[in-house]
Symmetry: C2
Subunit: 763 residues, 2 copies
């Protein structure tokens, strides 16, 4: 049995997204579009203080407002703490609503459900909260200063605002540095960054007569939301059903249980009516999750010839008021600090620090954009000091297939050197760099990323990924999966994988995804660029079982000898050596159903990484060159061209990878040049897209990309990730190009015109 190569092979075909027609015609139903009879509208009251005790909450006037059907405060709830790191319960530091104190401006205090959103909003204004203000800390330095207020003083195990640390010690760092010819030590500061997904979060909850809750919610992780929502409500896990409707982007910002999900469910149970929350852009920007700001210090040593000797890396993460996904970012930041190059000796110290800011969480790249902004900048600075071309220096130290990362894993495929060579040749790197016109710059940044994580912080009992495939006598199949398309196109890619393997047309595959009551349990959702590899493997597992059954039908019908391979393609099942011994897929299923006296032909497929260490089953790699122009008078940076060569293993859908790349570059440019939270005493001041400046289509440069040829044996059809890695290299590449154009070396993102002009003494 094998998938047919050639014209039937869908792997590598640019298939348009299955969800596009509904989205471009406005027919797609997002959580905020769904209406149920009798539905109430919810709003949440948030703290106006960065750090304060709650002395009293008076909801009486809100309750009395006509049209208000329910008002809840923390004490009305079961007061059960939650957090994604279930494996370590004491990291679970959030309550559904604040009870004794608030820890940031935006901390949720109370919720209202009313017959329309305006009444709910008015009711919020009628709730009176009495606070006793406490001293607040916003920076890592202040949070760690002697005498700083302890933000989570209720956790007696914590002696400071460091909620969690992570150490990596590979080799003797002191001795190693003694052998170095060149050592540099840099301190960088990277800023928080908004996911800025197109769709603000929304949740609609309804409750059945026995108290079971169904929520339609904008999420990346239905299973995680199901488990945590059930635990905070104090009901069995399977009394909660989470359904993922169309989702307008996540980027890591929608992978936790959120307060409005709890409030919608809880108030729906109390009122017996559906309750819907739809967040505003202001709410999202004001107190939503964001990428971690970090203080980073890196000491790196080289031999004269450029050979890396050792690295000592330290990261302080400004976690804001709660852990959120900070523990993972703290861990991964350390892992990514050791990636891309062969560091024989590597030390890492990571600290997750509570402050009175809105909590940071997971965001595209998950610790890597920060870790690699400093490491790639250091490579560029070291190259200059060592007098070695920046790309040559990288190639000298680049990880290659078969490299072992001490204590982590063996790299099963790496097209990093090829990526570097490709961008060098395609951009005419050396020639261009030597002949840079005035105010022009060319710079490089690279990346490596994980294809899904292995470390089981959620402590799932189920396989990491699972699916079910049902094959029908009409020549169609049904793929059920808990994987979530949140705009990245996975629904399209997963159908493509199954269709290719079963030899069916893509539109013969019905797909049902992201419904915890119906789709197979335990897939942890969309994050860490895990879907294509993990769910893809689960699909191939199920498909293999289906094919084994159908191959039998052909063998029986045509009396095939055991040596005959049976192939699947063009909607047919046939002897590979002699296709006339064959039948349609539907006919084969019919025979199977008859043979099994009316059973349905169904197979479950699963995937959990085995023998791949604790980080990931497979790493992507890539290199990116940015070309910029900097206006000498205004300091404005224009990114003119981005050239990327990337190794994501086999490309399942080139169109999809292209979309990921373009989106990543847009996000990378924003991160590097224009997006920055304006904060004052813990309050976010820029809460619209007029003030929080996300690059638009007009800001996009020319984009050229090249796929480097690799095959990842752990990936489905050889595929690896292409979702997050591509978001990493843009910042160091632009920064390097800006340095080439202006002499300004950024160690404090973002790169603003003001910083460039100040560096020139122009302001």
């Amino acid at each position: 049995m094998s998938a047919i190569k050639g014209k039937n092979n869908l792997i590598g075909a640019s298939i348009p997204r299955i969800d596009s027609p509904a989205k471009v015609t406005g027919k797609a139903l997002y959580a905020g579009d769904i209406i149920l009879p009798g539905m109430l509208h919810g709003k949440i009251l948030k703290s106006t203080k960065a750090h304060a005790k709650i002395l009293n909450i008076d909801i009486s006037r809100a309750l009395a407002l006509p049209g208000v059907k329910d008002v809840i405060v923390g004490k009305d709830t079961p007061c059960i703490k939650f957090g994604n790191w279930r494996l370590f319960p004491n990291t679970q530091d959030e309550l559904p609503l604040a009870v004794d104190k608030v820890r940031y401006i935006g901390d949720e205090i109370a919720a209202v459900a009313a017959i329309d959103p305006d009444i709910a909003e008015e009711a919020l204004s009628l709730i009176k909260v009495e606070y006793e203000e406490l001293p607040a800390v916003f920076s890592i330095e202040d949070a760690l200063a002697a005498g700083a207020p302890l933000i989570h003083d209720e956790n007696k195990e914590l002696k400071s605002n460091i909620s969690l640390d992570r150490k990596i010690d590979v080799g003797d760092i002191e001795s190693a540095f003694k052998t170095a010819d060149y050592i540099r030590e840099d301190t960088f500061v990277v800023h928080p960054h908004s996911h800025a997904y197109m769709e603000p979060c929304a949740t609609l909850a309804e409750t059945d007569s026995e108290g079971r809750v169904t929520i339609y919610t904008s999420t990346q992780t239905p299973y995680i939301v199901q488990c945590l929502l059930a635990s905070t409500l104090g009901i069995p896990e399977n009394h909660v059903r989470v359904m993922k409707p169309a989702v307008g982007g996540g980027f890591g910002g929608k992978m936790e249980l959120r307060k409005w999900e709890f409030c919608a469910a809880f108030m729906s149970r109390r009122t017996g009516r559906p309750v819907r929350f739809v967040l505003s852009r202001q709410e999202e920007l004001e107190s939503g999750r964001r990428r971690h700001g970090m203080n980073l210090k890196s000491k790196v040593g080289f031999k004269k010839d450029g050979t890396l000797v050792a690295k000592d890396f330290e990261a302080y993460l400004n976690g804001g008021a709660y852990n959120s996904m900070g523990p993972t970012a703290t861990f991964l930041c350390g892992n990514f600090g050791a990636m891309l190059y062969r560091y024989p000796i590597y030390h890492y110290r990571g600290y997750h620090v509570y402050t009175n800011l809105p909590p940071a969480g997971a965001m595209r790249g998950f610790g890597a954009p920060q870790a690699m902004f400093i490491s790639e900048s250091q490579m560029n600075m070291a190259a200059i000091d060592l007098g070695i071309d920046a790309i040559d220096l990288r190639i000298k130290n680049a990880m290659v297939t078969g490299d072992k990362i001490e204590g982590v894993t063996t790299i099963s495929s790496a097209g990093f050197v090829e990526s570097l060579e490709k961008v060098a040749s395609e951009t005419k790197w050396k020639e261009k760099k030597k002949n840079l016109p005035k105010n022009k710059g060319i710079g490089i940044g690279c990346y490596s990323f994980i294809s899904g994580g292995v470390f089981n912080w959620f402590n799932t009992q189920y396989n990491f990924s699972a699916c079910e495939v049902r094959a029908y006598d009409d020549g169609t199949a049904h793929l059920l999966t808990m994987s979530c398309d949140i705009g990245q196109g996975s629904d399209t890619v997963l159908r493509q994988i199954l269709a290719a393997d079963l030899g069916l047309a893509v539109n013969m595959i019905r797909l049902t995804a992201g419904d915890t009551a119906m789709t197979p349990k335990g897939d942890l959702g969309t994050w860490g660029s895990r879907v294509t590899l993990m769910n893809g493997n689960a699909i191939l597992d199920a498909s293999k079982k289906i094919k084994e059954q159908l191959a039998k039908m052909v063998s029986i019908k045509f009396n095939l000898n055991v040596i005959h391979d049976v192939a699947f393609g063009d909607g047919k099942v046939f002897a590979k050596a002699n296709p006339k011994y064959g039948m349609t897929f539907g006919e084969a299923v019919t025979l199977w159903v008859k043979a099994n006296r009316g059973e349905e032909l169904i197979a479950r497929g699963v995937y959990t990484p085995r023998d791949k260490g604790l980080t990931t089953p497979a790493y992507s790699f890539g290199a990116q060159v940015a070309e910029v122009d900097v206006d000498p008078d205004t300091g404005v940076v224009t990114v003119e061209k981005i050239t990327t060569a990337h190794d994501c293993g086999t490309v399942i859908n080139p169109l999809g990878v292209e979309g990921q790349l373009e989106g990543a570059i847009q996000m990378g440019i924003g991160y590097t040049l224009s997006e920055q939270f304006a904060m004052k005493n813990g309050k976010t001041l820029n809460t619209t897209f007029l003030d929080y400046k996300v690059p638009s289509a007009e800001d996009m440069p020319q984009i050229v990309s090249y796929k480097v040829d690799t095959y990842e044996k752990e990936g489905p059809f050889g595929a690896k990730e292409a979702g997050e890695g591509l978001a990493i290299p843009t910042a160091p590449a632009i920064s390097d190009a800006v340095f080439q154009a202006t002499g300004y070396r950024c160690k404090d993102l973002p790169i603003t015109p003001e910083k460039i002009l100040r560096s020139k003494g122009k302001i």
Copy 2:
């Protein structure tokens, strides 16, 4: 392994209906309650002629009406005929919309989809149909008369308006009658009868970007609708998803593909928008399906002592313009003619006759109310002539457990004699009958019914019934089934069966039913009183598999010897002999998931009757006594008391059976006394519940019922049907009581005051 008896045993517990809270609070969503964005409203243009050629249809003015988005006529469709009797394709005589001719007043001709229902209605009035009228026939006599117009002249195999016949020949009838001491031959006429379900039909269809259709429809048979809709649309079966929302009654009237289902789906595919049809009560009564009117002739012979000798039964069914479920009614009418008593010799001739009336279809009892009205009336008349008490005569001839019905089956359980004895003693039958006050009457009628059908007219490839059970580590389970609760309470009973068998509380079972994309394939739906027995058996099959797996966990954990039985009860799994060797259900599932490295514990269960002949796996039995008062001046019959003793095997849910009984009596009283279609030249004149008189709560008599103790070994926990059989005995019982009170013997339903008074010469 066994379910725990005693306090944990849910079998026999009166558990309130799971759907009641939503229904009584108005929260239940029926198809007509569901709103989708951009939804269009559909209306159907129906024939005003009973029989005519369509010469031309002009839709131009309708199309031009602002707000109209689509207008279709028959020629726009793929013109694929459909019908439930897929096994015999030439019985499939309906088109989605009429093309060349119309065959009854109400035959669907065109459909409109518009932005609101009023515009759609107005558009209908703008469609101009040119007809060439043809001679029409309404009665069986006219339809079979020489020179009658052939209603389906397109079917060249038909030589008359008889679309189908059915013969049963058991024994030599001529010789048998020669041995009889007493022979009577009667001719009866029974009238059509409306299902009068509370919820008029509604369907909402939507189409995805690849042309797959989802319909939410008021149906008893999602799988049948899926298959036939797909075939009429000309698309793969699994490109159609049928979802059954709350359904407000069916009684056989919602078990086919209906024209509005096709039109909603077809126009949704054309317009790309959701399209909803909601029928009015007028439409339902004017041209909806109805129970078959029949002309019946029965010749029956007895020995002097009352022993039955032979029966020769003939039925002509007035089928209306199409076959619908008429073939099944024709078959079953013959089967039911042979039921209840030991007829050593039995002949049957059944004829399904086309007329230009609205098609008759399946309705509660499915041929039995008609067959048993004449046979039970004949028993009552014969008893008088033979001078034997009517109950004694029945007991003498009653079927008992182990009786063989020639060519059909062996009766595996029969509590008929016990039922007769019970009503006799509880009503003080003989005493009361001897001392009847003036204008009072007491009469008896009996029934037997099938617990699901075996004959596979739909030609399904799948098991007759199937389910899936998923067991979870939180101590809950999920039951997925294609069975349909249409108001009869099966969702409650099926959960009860699974909960009892797994030893869980009922509310620990999530139930998902009636969704062809999600729930197991092939269950044929709700008709023929099949759900409790067939799906109940499928559930026990799945439950057994789950229990086998969990029992292993207990055996491993506690090192149990092979002799130990493992029991399930109170949410626990334990060694029966020593319950301390046990754990919670959830803990057992957790162990299983660990043992199976993250798989889900899932089992599919199936049921298809084997070695049970072609009719049914099990028969219910029962007897009913009616007591009436007849006003001598007005002829108005008041039913004062109904006493029923019934054998439905083990009663799973007494409350549910009671509900079925009360509903059946209400329907039976309407059938006998007040409900009658007023027809004029093929047109139904009474199209509201003011004119079509369904009994109300005020018309209900005192009801007393007794359960006779039997155990049906083919049924789940010993259960048989209680849904339809109970609808049968009321008409003959009331008719007999009216005879006792007035001397008027009804052979022409309904019994009206006019008929009673005419029989007395009073008018």
